[in-house]
C-alpha cells in the first residue's frame, strides 16, 4: 500500500462533497481495520483496484448520513434507505471514483466501476491473504463516514 494511491481518493471525496453538498468533510485520525472486523456502516460503495497494486477502496456511510445526502441532492425527504438513497450513494461514489482516476493517471493503476453493498453491519470482501487495510474517518456537518483502503502492492516501490 502506497499513500500516493490513497491520496487521490481522499481528495476526490473531499471535492465531491464540497461541490455537491457545499462543505468539505474533515479527515480524522486514520486507524487499522482488521479484515474480519464488522464496522457499523449501513451502505458502502466498493471500488476495485488493479494494476501495480491490487485491492479495494470502500466508502461506507451510516444510514442517517446517506438519507441526509439524498434529501439534500434530490430535494425529497428520506426517512429510510430506499432505491433513491442507494442510487444517490452509488452516483456519489461514481463521481468520487471518476475524479480519483485523474489523480491516479501517473500510476499503472486501473479502477473498476463502483458497486454498492447495503445492509446492517455488512462485511467487505477484502482481497485474500494478509492485505494491509487502513480506515480513514471523515466528519461532515451531517455526520461521519468512512473511507477504507485495502491494497496490496504488486510491484514493490
Amino acid at each position: 500500500m502506497n499513500i500516493r494511491y490513497i491520496t487521490p481518493f481522499i481528495e476526490a471525496t473531499q471535492n465531491a462533497f464540497l461541490e455537491l453538498l457545499g462543505s468539505k468533510p474533515e479527515a480524522l485520525t486514520p486507524f487499522l481495520v482488521r479484515r474480519e472486523e464488522v464496522l457499523d456502516w449501513d451502505i458502502s460503495g466498493v471500488i476495485g483496484i488493479a494494476g501495480e497494486a491490487r485491492g479495494v477502496v470502500v466508502l461506507s456511510f451510516p444510514r442517517g448520513l446517506a438519507q441526509e445526502i439524498t434529501t439534500i441532492l434530490t430535494g425529497q425527504m428520506k426517512t429510510s434507505v430506499d432505491d433513491d438513497v442507494i442510487d444517490t450513494v452509488g452516483e456519489l461514489v461514481n463521481i468520487i471514483a471518476g475524479n480519483a482516476k485523474r489523480g491516479l493517471e501517473e500510476f499503472k493503476l486501473m479502477i473498476s466501476l463502483p458497486s454498492i453493498v447495503q445492509g446492517d453491519s455488512h462485511q467487505i470482501g477484502w482481497p485474500s491473504g494478509s492485505v494491509p487495510i487502513v480506515g480513514i474517518p471523515f466528519t461532515t456537518p451531517q455526520g461521519h463516514f468512512n473511507l477504507s483502503v485495502g491494497l496490496e502492492n504488486i510491484i514493490t516501490v
Partner: protein, 657 residues
C-alpha cells in the same frame, strides 16, 4: 404496361423457352419467330387482297402458306424443336419464292421477293449451310427465269433477268460477308466474356480467402493512414480486441485519449507519424514501439493488456501503417500472479528460516505481545478521532519500539528491521500533534507490519497443522521391517523368483538403535544372496519336489547380553564341492583337504564369488565379506549352516551394548 407487353412479345419470340440459350441459338430463335410472324401477317394481307381482286388461285396458295407458317410457329412452340423450324423454313420459302418468280406474281414482280431469300437462309442456318441454300436457290431461279417453257405465263426482258440474278448474287455475297463478320464478332465477344468470367472467378476466390483470413485470425489487423485513422478493411477480431462500439472511421490516436496520460498520447502520435517519413529506419521504429505491451481500460471499461506491432507499407503510392494487435491480457495476468506468488514465497521463506530458529514458546509469546501492542496503538488511533490525545505519538512510538525490541530479541531480524523503519518515522513526531495526513503514512506502515505479523501467524499455523498431520499417522512402521519387506518385493520383481517372507519371530523392539542400520544392511545382503544364489525358479523347485514358492524366515531373539538374529532360506544351499573347486581355481592355499565347515566359511571371504557374471546384485564377492567385517567390527559373530539342496542359514550374535 410496357414491360408486360414486352414480356408477352419476348415469350412469343422465344417460343416460350425460359432457359438461357447460347447467344447464337438465341439470335436464330428470335429471327425465325420474327420471320414467321411478319411472314404470316404479310401472307394474310396478300391473300385477302388477292381474294378481293378476284384472283382466287393466288389467294388460296397464299392463305395455305400462311397456314403452314402458323403451324410451324405452334410446332416450334410446343416441341421446342427449333432446329426443325430452321431447316424447314428455307425449303418452304424456296418453294414459295420459286412459285412467285415462276408465276410472275402480281404485276410480274414476283421475282423481287427472291432478294430476301439469302437473308432468310443465311441468318437462319449460318453462312455455310445457308450459303448452300442460297446457291441452290439461285440455280433454281436461273432455271425458272431462263427456261421459257417453265414460265409460260409471262415474259421478261433478258436484261431484267440478268439484273435480277446479279442483284441476287450481290445481296448473297454481302449477306454471307455480314454473317461471317457477325459470327466472328460474336465469337470474340464470347471469348471475352469467358475470360472475364474466369478472371472474376479468380478474384472472387482470392477475395473469399482474404475474407476467411480477416474473419478468422485472432489478431486485430488494420491499416492506419497519415491522419492516423483506421481505413479500409480490418480483421473481425479488431473490434473485439479493442472493444470498439462504433467502428466507422475512428481515429487511432484518439482511441488512447483518456486511457493514457496526455503526454504519452502525444508521444504515441509522434511515434506513429514517423512511419510516414521515409528517412526513419524501420528497425529503429520497431525497437522504440511505445505500444509493445500496454495496459489500458477499453471503451467498455474492460482492463486489457494489448501488444501492438507496426510496419510501414506502401499501397498504390500512398503510405500506410500496417498494424496488428494481440490481446495479451491473460498472459499478463498470469505473469503478475506469478510474480506476486514469488514475492510472497520469498518473504515467507525468509520468515520461515528465521522462525525455525526461534524457540516455539518464545515465538508464541512474541506474537501475542506484538498483536496486543498493535491493537493498543489502533485503539488509541480510533479514540483520537473522537478526542485528540496529546500522548498519541508517544504511545505509538513506545508500542512500535516494544515490538521491534521483542522481535530482535528472539531473532526475527528481518521483521525487526521493518519495525525499526517505522520506529524511525514515528520518532520524529514524538511530543507533537501531526495532522491526519502524517498519521495516515504511519498507519499505512503499521498496517503493513500487521499484515506481516498475520503472515507469520498463518505460517506457524500451517507448520503446526503439518506437525499434527504427521503425529496423527498410525505408529510409524519399523524401518528395518519396512526395508526388508521392500527388498523382497523388489528382488521378486527383478528376478522373477517367488518367495514368502516370514517375520513373525522377528521382534525388533529390543534392537538397540545403534545396531538398526547394521542389521538392516546385513539382512538386505542376505536377501539379495537368497534371490541370486539360493532360491530356485519354480520349475527347478518342482523338479526337486519342493513347494513352488521359496521361503525366507528371519528370527530375532533377545538372549541376555546378546541379540541373536537368524536368517534362513529353503533354496539350493551351499555346494561344498563347487566351493572347493572355486577355491582351488583361485588357488587359495591348499583347500582340497580342508573340512566342509571351513569350506562353507569361505563365502565370507572378500572377493570370493561363485557367480559367473557380475550384476547389480551379485558376483562382486564383497557382499557377505562386508557382513562379516561389519559384524565383527561391532563385536559380534556370524556363522553359516547349510545342507546342499535344502537351504542355508546365517546366525548372527550381536552384543547389546
Amino acid at each position: 404496361m410496357a414491360s408486360r407487353f414486352q414480356k408477352v412479345l419476348t415469350n412469343i419470340l422465344r417460343s416460350g423457352i425460359q432457359t438461357t440459350l447460347e447467344a447464337e441459338d438465341e439470335i436464330r430463335l428470335l429471327f425465325i419467330n420474327s420471320i414467321i410472324l411478319v411472314g404470316f401477317l404479310a401472307l394474310m394481307v396478300f391473300a385477302l387482297r388477292d381474294f378481293f381482286a378476284g384472283d382466287h388461285v393466288y389467294s388460296l396458295v397464299t392463305a395455305s402458306l400462311a397456314f403452314i407458317v402458323a403451324c410451324l410457329f405452334f410446332f416450334i412452340r410446343w416441341t421446342k424443336l427449333v432446329q426443325v423450324g430452321l431447316w424447314f423454313l428455307p425449303f418452304l420459302m424456296a418453294a414459295f419464292y420459286g412459285y412467285l418468280a415462276a408465276s410472275g406474281g402480281a404485276g410480274t414482280s414476283g421475282a423481287l421477293w427472291s432478294f430476301s431469300y439469302p437473308l432468310v437462309a443465311i441468318f437462319l442456318l449460318g453462312y455455310r449451310r445457308g450459303g448452300l441454300f442460297t446457291i441452290g436457290y439461285v440455280v433454281f431461279l436461273g432455271i425458272v427465269l431462263f427456261v421459257p417453257q417453265l414460265t409460260p405465263a409471262w415474259n421478261m426482258e433478258l436484261d431484267f433477268k440478268i439484273r435480277t440474278i446479279g442483284t441476287y448474287v450481290v445481296i448473297s455475297i454481302f449477306v454471307v460477308e455480314f454473317e461471317y463478320i457477325r459470327l466472328q464478332a460474336q465469337r470474340e465477344i464470347e471469348r471475352g466474356r469467358k475470360e472475364l468470367a474466369k478472371t472474376t472467378d479468380a478474384l472472387l476466390a482470392e477475395k473469399s480467402q482474404t475474407d476467411g483470413i480477416l474473419h478468422n485470425i485472432r489478431e486485430g489487423i488494420f491499416l492506419v493512414d497519415e491522419h492516423l485513422r483506421i481505413v479500409g478493411r480490418h480483421s473481425d477480431s479488431l473490434t473485439q480486441i479493442l472493444d470498439l462500439d462504433d467502428e466507422t472511421s475512428w481515429d487511432f490516436s484518439t482511441y488512447f485519449d483518456g486511457k493514457l496520460p496526455e503526454k504519452e498520447v502525444q508521444s504515441l502520435r509522434d511515434y506513429l507519424m514517423m512511419f510516414f517519413q521515409s528517412q526513419v529506419r524501420p528497425e529503429l521504429l520497431q525497437t522504440i514501439n511505445p505500444l509493445e505491451t500496454i495496459k489500458i481500460t477499453t471503451p467498455r471499461g474492460r482492463l486489457k493488456t494489448l501488444a501492438f506491432t507496426f510496419a510501414a507499407i506502401k499501397l498504390e503510392g500512398r503510405r500506410f501503417i500496417l498494424a496488428s494487435v494481440r490481446d495479451d491480457t491473460l498472459t499478463a495476468e498470469l505473469n503478475q500472479k506469478l510474480k506476486e506468488e514469488e514475492d510472497k514465497a520469498a518473504r515467507q521463506m525468509r520468515h520461515l528460516f528465521q522462525i525455525i530458529h526461534v524457540r516455539p514458546e518464545l515465538l508464541v509469546q512474541f506474537l501475542e505481545d506484538a498483536t496486543d501492542e498493535i491493537a493498543d496503538i489502533n485503539r488509541r488511533l480510533k479514540a483520537n478521532s473522537l478526542q485528540a490525545q496529546d500522548d498519541l505519538m508517544e504511545a505509538f512510538y513506545q508500542g512500535v519500539h516494544a515490538v521491534k525490541g521483542n522481535a530482535a530479541l528472539i531473532g526475527l531480524t528481518s521483521f525487526s528491521e521493518r519495525v525499526h523503519d517505522l520506529e524511525n518515522l514515528v520518532k520524529d513526531w514524538r511530543g507533537k500533534s501531526p495532522d491526519w495526513r502524517e498519521i495516515l503514512t504511519l498507519t499505512i506502515e503499521l498496517s503493513k507490519i500487521q499484515a506481516e505479523l498475520e503472515e507469520i501467524q498463518a505460517l506457524i499455523q500451517r507448520m503446526s497443522t503439518f506437525q499434527k498431520e504427521m503425529a496423527n499417522n498410525t505408529e510409524p512402521q519399523d524401518l528395518v521391517v519396512m526395508t526388508v519387506e521392500r527388498a523382497v518385493q523388489r528382488l521378486t520383481a527383478e528376478t522373477g523368483v517367488q518367495a514368502t517372507l516370514d517375520l513373525k519371530d522377528f521382534v525388533t523392539d529390543n534392537l538397540p538403535s545403534g545396531h538398526r542400520k547394521l542389521v538392516k544392511d546385513i539382512l538386505v545382503q542376505f536377501i539379495r544372496n537368497s534371490f541370486v544364489h539360493g532360491l530356485e525358479p519354480a520349475e527347478e523347485r518342482q523338479a526337486r519336489q519342493k513347494p513352488l514358492t521359496g521361503k525366507i524366515k528371519i528370527i530375532c531373539q533377545d538372549r541376555g547380553p546378546f541379540l541373536s538374529i537368524s536368517y534362513q532360506d529353503d533354496g539350493r544351499g551351499l555346494d561344498p564341492g563347487r566351493l572347493r573347486q572355486t577355491a582351488i581355481k583361485k588357488s587359495l592355499k591348499n583347500w582340497d583337504t580342508r573340512p566342509d565347515h571351513e569350506i562353507l566359511a569361505l563365502i565370507f571371504e572378500n572377493g570370493f564369488s561363485t557367480a559367473a557374471e557380475v550384476s547389480v546384485h551379485a558376483g562382486r564377492g564383497v557382499g557377505l565379506g562386508l557382513v562379516k567385517t561389519r559384524v565383527e567390527a561391532s563385536g559380534g559373530k556370524v556363522s553359516v549352516r547349510s545342507a546342499s539342496g535344502q537351504g542355508i542359514a546365517f546366525d548372527i550374535e550381536l552384543p547389546k551394548g
